[in-house]
């Protein structure tokens, strides 16, 4: 299927690049999601408006086009060049961060108002309330939709191959060009992505269980209140539905 050299020189490093791109853009996306998600519930209308603009713009843009724009148009227009890997991470992180901000906003809004009022009554500052009361309770609610987004992000990481970042899809294309045999390599690629998605899902389930245990929502609560039907609510944001 592919020569030894092809495998060790391109394919294995490609797998590592795919993992790196996914993790870096997930980290950036998480930061963006929390920042924008929180600001969209700000007291100041101008902050709310600007955060809303960010959300609408990056949700409406295609990650692929943003990536090409950062890699090919930005250097021409502003004489400012990014390394393709970082441009790709930036494009993915900003896009999926916008999707994530909706998850954060929704989960924070779903924390019962009484919790916030209790914090006020106890004289907590706004930041203390956010850190000690609202986030710990909202976090378990965010994890399932975040998992969906993470899988979307992993899939989106294949796009970086189009801006010459040598991830595993890029290596796969090289193998096809080199050997003219496309069936085995693309099958292998699909299986690898599937396995990665599977592992990510397992990891996120574990996180979710621990996060729930931390705020006293153990197995018991979960069994008493069956999970609501997934699929409609988040729509295109949490592409993937029930998982």
């Amino acid at each position: 299927m592919m020569t030894e050299g092809m495998f060790t020189n391109y394919f294995l490093p490609g797998i590592w690049i795919t993992i790196q791109v996914t993790l870096y853009s997930a980290a950036l996306g998480l930061v963006v999601a929390f920042a924008i998600g929180r600001l969209r519930a700000s007291r100041l209308w101008i902050v709310r408006f600007l955060a809303g603009c960010y959300f609408e713009i990056f949700r409406g843009l295609s990650a692929l086009i943003l990536m090409f724009w950062l890699v090919f148009a930005l250097p021409v227009m502003f004489r400012w060049q990014l390394v393709p890997l970082w441009a790709a991470v930036l494009a993915l992180g900003l896009t999926y961060g916008a999707y994530g901000s909706e998850v954060v906003r929704g989960a924070l809004a779903a924390v019962p108002a009484a919790q916030r009022e209790a914090g006020i009554a106890l004289g907590f500052t706004r930041f203390q309330r956010l850190r000690r009361i609202e986030l710990p309770q909202a976090w378990p609610e965010m994890l399932p939709p975040f998992n969906n987004l993470l899988i979307e992000l992993l899939k989106g990481s294949a796009l970086v191959s189009t801006v010459t970042v040598a991830d595993m899809t890029f290596a796969g294309n090289l193998v096809r060009l080199g050997s003219n045999e496309s069936a085995p390599i693309y099958t292998l690629l699909l299986v690898l992505y599937f396995v990665m998605a599977f592992l990510l899902t397992r990891g996120m389930r574990l996180l979710e269980r621990r996060a729930k245990a931390n705020v006293g929502q153990g197995r018991l609560r979960a069994s008493l209140a069956p999970r609501e039907e997934a699929g409609e609510g988040h729509g295109a944001l949490t592409a993937g539905g029930a998982r």
């Binding site: 609408e56 713009i57 949700r59 409406g60 843009l61 295609s62 990650a63 692929l64 086009i65 943003l66 090409f68 724009w69 090919f72 148009a73 250097p75 021409v76 227009m77 502003f78 004489r79 899988i151 992993l154 899939k155 989106g156 990481s157 294949a158 796009l159 191959s161 189009t162 899809t169 796969g172 294309n173 096809r176 496309s182 069936a183 693309y186 099958t187 690629l189 699909l190 992505y193 599937f194 998605a197 599977f198 039907e229 997934a230 699929g231 409609e232 729509g235 295109a236 944001l237 592409a239 993937g240 539905g241 029930a242």
Partner: protein, 217 residues
């Protein structure tokens, strides 16, 4: 900032060609996704394990792997076994197939939301199974899921530039071709803005639909 309006003017004819291709891919891709997704959703409710299980496995696999690699697979591998398709046809099939696994979940939720009494009533009236689906269950289920399906059309629009990677000349493919030929970059910006201009009103429309259908349910 480097910006030349004459480049934009020169790109415009190709841009409109690209818009046509993008919209065509979106239309036919959506039709495939809506139809095939319904097939998946109904198969997942089948009484036979050997229908349910493979359909679940296949849809899960397609949903969890990148559309880009699937497009490569359809474009480069499939012709080894069967007839080859044009880049645009491959793109439409790829988009439709990929999104059918998402719409299947939407339909599944919609069908699951139809009260059990409706099924029982159909049984009590001894309606045949096909008529139960067509006349009783689906009209109620699909109505509920129209906004969610619309959201996936918007998602598909945003994924449609991927078909340019296998050579279909949609908006993005035209921009890429033009920029490479002329060593300019304005076309990427034009196409990026075009996406916003299409996607934002579309998402407003979906939100409006969501509110309307929710009120009259």
């Amino acid at each position: 900032m480097n910006w030349d309006w004459s480049v934009v003017d020169e790109f415009m004819p190709r841009f409109w060609d690209g818009v046509g291709v993008t919209l065509r891919a979106l239309l036919f891709g959506s039709l495939i996704a809506f139809a095939l997704g319904l097939v998946w959703a109904m198969a997942q409710r089948s009484g036979h394990r050997w229908v349910r299980w493979p359909v679940n496995a296949v849809t899960e696999f397609i949903r969890d792997t990148p559309l880009l690699v699937q497009l490569f697979f359809l474009y480069y591998v499939l012709p080894e076994w069967g007839p080859s398709m044009s880049a645009l046809t491959t793109g439409i099939v790829g988009l439709g197939l990929h999104y059918s696994t998402y719409t299947a979940e939407v339909y599944r939720a919609g069908i699951g939301g139809v009260p059990a009494g409706q099924w029982e009533a159909a049984t009590a009236l001894s309606l045949p199974r096909s008529r139960t689906w067509i006349a009783v269950i689906l009209p109620q289920a699909i109505r509920r899921v129209v906004p969610a399906l619309g959201n996936y059309v918007i998602s598909m629009l945003k994924d449609s530039p991927m078909i340019a990677v296998i050579g279909a000349l949609d908006m993005f493919g035209q921009a890429e071709g033009y920029s490479n030929e002329t060593f300019t970059a304005e076309a990427y910006t034009v196409v990026g803005i075009a996406f916003l201009v299409i996607a934002y009103p579309a998402s407003l429309l979906i939100r409006y639909l969501e509110r309307r259908l929710a009120l009259t349910r």
